[in-house]
Structure formats: C-alpha cells, structure tokens
C-alpha cells in the first residue's frame, strides 16, 4: 500500500510541518522507501506477545512513578529565566498571533 500525495499532506499537517510542493514530492518517495523497510514487521507472528514500552520490563516488574500532583510555587526570577528563550513575550506572557478576533 503506497503513500499518496494526500497521505503526505495529512501527515505533514498532523506533524505541523509546512512542506513545499518539491518537499512533499521528495517526502512521498522517501516515505514509500522507508515503508518498504518497515513492512517486514508485518510478516512476524506476534500473537500473544505483549507490546514492550519499558525495556527493563523484560527483566523485572516496572511501575512508573508519578510525582505528587501539586503545583510548586515559583517566583518572578524563575519565571523570567524560563521565559528568556521565548521568541516574543510581554508582561510574563508568551506572544502568538491572534487566535480569537
């Protein structure tokens, strides 16, 4: 099952990547090549095998920790340090194009 131009447009939209027509064409060819490689997975019988998300689950019981669901108080210095890399800010807020008119 080959990847079409429509598939590429949909994937690029989902990934939020703007592709020029030339990029889209190259992407389609490359993805079809890669698909040929990963199609090999389909031939393997994996009936009854549980998907492995954490590699150490082959060795021991794994339960992922969650931290306590509690806000940690910050201060203005931390806020400005964390926002120092933002392309556009004002009054402690990140600036983006108008979303609601």
């Amino acid at each position: 099952m080959a990847i079409t131009d429509q598939d590429v447009a949909r994937i690029a939209h989902l990934a939020r990547i703007a592709l020029s027509p030339e990029d889209a064409e190259r992407t389609r060819r490359e993805l079809n090549g890669i698909l040929g490689l990963i199609e090999q997975l389909q031939a393997v019988d994996t009936q009854g095998v549980e998907p492995m998300a954490h590699p150490l689950s082959a060795h021991q019981e794994i339960s992922l920790r969650l931290r306590e669901d509690k806000a940690e108080p910050g201060n203005e210095t931390q806020r400005s340090a964390l926002m120092a890399n933002a392309p556009a800010t004002a009054q402690g807020l990140f600036l983006v194009p108008t979303v609601i008119e």
Partner: protein, 510 residues
C-alpha cells in the same frame, strides 16, 4: 610546535588525578592547554561552543579544592559534554538550527553530577541534530571530522565526543546512545565507550529523542577511564520518571558500578595466567553475516582469540531477530521522536519563522525551517506510524517484536553465556558525504547496535584493530552484558586492554 594538551602526557584519569592532588599540575594549566588545542584543531569541528572564562572559572574552583586537600576522583579532569545535555553556562543547541540561540535555565543531572565530582568542562560537542544520525553529518553546524582521516566521518550521533577524545582534546566526554550513538562513534574513532543499562543514568536535562531508548554514557580512551565517569553518574534521579531506584537489589547510586568492577578484577586476579577462566563469550552467528566487511570480521576474530588466550571460552549463540531490530527501531524511535519534538512550536523557545499568518502557519513554518532533513524525515515517519489506522500495524507490532528481541538476549544469557561479543559496525568509517542520496543506507549499518538499545542492555565498544587503508581507520569490538552488569563489562574490557595496545594508538595531528 606541539599543540597537544598537557593531559595527554598522562595515561589515565587516575594518574592525572594523582598528579593534580600532588600539585604537580594545576587544573588551570590543564584547562588552558586544552583550550589552546581545541583552537588549534578547530578544523575537526568537534566543539560547537567554547567559553574560555567559564572553563577557567571551573578550573580555578577545582584548584581551590585541590589546594585544600579536598579533591575527588575527577577534580580538575578536563572533559566535555555532547550538546544534547543542557547546561546553564554554555548554549545547548542539539546541533539544530531550531535551538541555535538556546541557553538552558538549568543543568542536566549528568552535567551537575560530573561538576560536583570536580570535572572541568571544556564546552559542548558537535553531534547529529537531535542525536539523529550515525555520521555527525546531520549537524546544522557542519560535520565533525574523524581525527584518523579528516575526510572520514567520526560516526554518530556522538561524533564530536568521539573525535574530541580520539584527538586528545579532552580526557573523556559524555555521549548519548539511542540506537548505537555512543558505541558506533567510539568504534569509528578508536576510543572506548559504554552505554549503561536503560534507567541507571538520569535522562533529566538530556534533549529528548526516543525516551524509551535514550541513555547517557561516557567515551574515553579505555575502560578504567570510563569507570571514572560512569560511576558518579549512575544514580537514581527523582526527576526522570524512568530512572531506577535499584539495580537487582543494589541501590542505584555512585559506588555501585565501581564495587562490581573491583570485585570482577579481584576475581580475575585469582585466575593467574588465565584470568578469564570460566567466562563464556556468546558469539551471535547473525553478527557475522554477508554484510560484514572482511577486515572488521578479522579484527573481531583476533580479539576473540585474545580473549580465549586469557581463559575465556567461546560459545556460538543465535540472536535470530537481529535483522528485525532495524524495522522495529525505525518505527519506535521515530514515533517517540515525533512525539518528543512536538514541543518545538516557535512559542516558548526555539526558532520562530520571520513571516507568518495564523498560529498554525507560524508553527508549521518555524518547524520546517528549524529542523534539518533527517529530523523532518523521522518526525514524518513517526507521525505516520502513530496515525489512526496504522498504530496497531506498525507501532504496537514493533513494540511486540521489541519484546521478542529482548527475550532472545535473555535466553542467550540464561542458557549459554555471560557476555556477548561481536562487531559494532559492518565496516570502518565511511567518507563524509557518502550515501547522501540514500537516506536509509546508513540505517542498515546500525544492525549490530539496535537490538541492545531496544532491549535496554548495557554494551560497550573498545578498539580492536585498524583497516589496511592508506590512512588506517579504527575498528571496534562490541561487548554486551546482561542488565546492570556495567562493572563486570568494564572489567572484561579492561583485561583485554591490559593484553593489547589498540586503545593506546593515537592519530597524527591533522
């Protein structure tokens, strides 16, 4: 005029540390001579960010501690970090245009632990963009070069780390390994590297690529120097959700790896002339297939014979799903990458395009401009395999095969062997620019390293020979251990390095 740094006169971190503690050399002298060498060898493009004042401040602090007799095992030792570890002082770019101006508000745990241990950082090292690649050619800031042959790649993605160690610019460097990114550049540059068990070293502050695979590990000349870096960074960290609090009953904390190493060395010493008596080395038939170049096969074979002469026994084993590790990895890693890299939206940090319409347009253009071709390719592949309708067929199927691959290793360790050995790469370093028109050609060369990454096992690369080309290129031997056997692996590697001198060969200055 020699531009080799002062630290290259010492054979090991231990020896250099002793000289520092005895006041025979100062951390500042070491730092200055390394800074000069980095400048003189800037053609290697191993370093992305150098800041002499930051480095010298760390060196002065180390000298203060040493002056008070409070120096530790790494106090004053010159190292450097792969540019995917965030640092407050130096910029962190992950070799991407996306993060070209990024400075982190905090340090990665690995960076903090090494700084606490007294190591002096010379700066940040080149790598493939977001650690995606195996030749360091995917850096937005140009390829790093192999110190053995400037026209050859140093490997990747930790190419700058391997090149810097091989060229003698630092005693050791940090790297990260998602599918082989510590072992493969170590092999191609003729240095030693170890990827520890997944979950033993904190990922906090490592720019994320494939979170279920990413693991930090050091590169250095030899196993004993690797131990000096790996031991202090192997520690539980509350801030990494997959960090393990204990390792088969032993607390995950500094001292664990060293204690295992010391015990293994002591056991070897009891063996006299046959120090590795009783050690069973599993050699997977699938690692010696038609894709392996004859000179790599010969060098690995000679290394196995050296191990046999030390008392080890060779056992033929099978890892039947070795080839399947390629498609499994190239589903799982891009899937995780597409998820992890969705954070780069041009809003909170990172590149923002100059002209845009609405918010979606701004994000899509910023990402298209900020990411290089290989990163875009992997994000798109990952997005595809996670799509509704394909998720089961690709992503979950790859995760099931991942478990089968991990089980194959467990069966080998349970029934046949204590350690697995084989090649790291099918051939020596390729030319810079080779395979440019075939983006997946390099993926196939990862065949010997991916299985270990999918299984989360510890593995190393150590030098074991050279090609016969006019400019000889290094060949690496891979050692794979069972979970949490880092100390034992290092001791097995150390024994080989006592019997051979491959790790002592140094490239001529280019």
């Amino acid at each position: 005029m020699s531009t080799m740094p002062l630290h290259t006169e010492f054979d090991s971190i231990e020896a250099l540390g002793a000289a520092l503690r005895q006041g025979k050399v100062s951390a500042l002298e070491l730092a200055d001579s390394a800074l000069d060498a980095i400048q003189a060898q800037s053609g290697l493009n191993a370093f992305l960010h150098v800041d002499a004042e930051l480095t010298r401040a760390q060196a002065r602090a180390a000298d203060d501690l040493l002056g008070q007799g409070r120096g530790g095992s790494l106090t004053g030792i010159p190292i450097a970090h792969k540019d995917v570890f965030v640092t407050r002082g130096w910029r962190t770019t992950a070799a991407s245009k996306m993060l070209a101006d990024y400075t982190s508000p905090f340090d990665a745990t690995v960076v903090s632990l090494l700084e606490q241990a007294g190591a002096v950082s010379l700066g940040k090292l080149n790598c493939d963009e977001f650690a995606m690649g195996s030749g360091n050619e995917n850096s937005a800031f140009g390829p790093a070069r192999n110190p053995w042959d400037a026209d050859a790649v140093p490997g990747g993605s930790s190419g700058g780390s391997a090149a810097a160690v091989a060229a003698g610019l630092v005693m050791a460097a940090t790297g990260t390994d998602t599918g082989g990114s510590v072992r493969q550049p170590a092999a191609l540059c003729g240095v030693s590297g170890i990827k520890p068990t997944y979950g033993t070293v904190s990922r906090f502050g490592m720019v994320a690529f494939g979170s279920s695979l990413d693991q930090a590990g050091p590169l250095a000349r030899h196993a004993r120097d690797l131990l000096e870096l790996l031991d202090p960074i192997s520690a539980f960290d509350q801030r990494d959700a997959t960090s393990l609090p204990d390792c088969d009953g032993a607390a995950n904390q500094p001292g664990r790896v060293r204690a295992q190493f010391d015990a293994a060395v002591a056991a070897q010493q009891e063996g006299g002339a046959k120090p590795l008596q009783g050690l069973r080395i599993g050699v997977p038939a699938e690692f010696f297939n038609e894709g392996l170049s004859p000179e790599v096969a010969q060098a690995v074979e000679a290394a196995l014979q050296t191990y046999e002469s030390l008392g080890a026994r060779r056992v033929e084993i099978s890892l039947p799903r070795t080839r399947l590790s390629i498609p499994a990895y190239y589903v799982i890693a891009p899937a995780e990458a597409s998820s992890n890299l969705s954070r780069y939206d041009g809003v909170r940090y990172g590149h923002r395009t100059a002209s845009y319409g609405d918010l979606a347009d701004m994000t899509s253009r910023s990402r298209a401009e900020g990411f290089g071709p290989e990163v875009l390719r992997r994000i798109l592949v990952g997005t595809y395999v996670l799509c509704h309708g394909y998720y089961d067929a690709y992503y979950l199927q790859a995760q099931r095969i991942r478990r089968l691959i991990a089980q194959d290793f467990q069966q080998a360790f349970a029934d046949h062997c204590d350690v697995i050995m084989g090649p790291v790469t099918p051939s020596v370093a390729k030319r810079i620019g080779e395979n440019r028109d075939d983006p997946t050609a390099d993926w196939l060369a990862d065949v010997y390293t991916l299985g270990v990454s999918l299984a989360g096992l510890p593995a190393m690369s150590i030098p074991c020979g050279f090609s016969s080309s006019q400019k000889p290129l290094p060949i690496g031997l891979q050692l794979i251990g069972n979970y949490f056997r880092e100390g034992q692996l290092l001791a097995i590697a150390d024994r080989f390095q006592q019997a051979t001198d491959w790790h002592q060969r140094k490239p001529e200055q280019q």
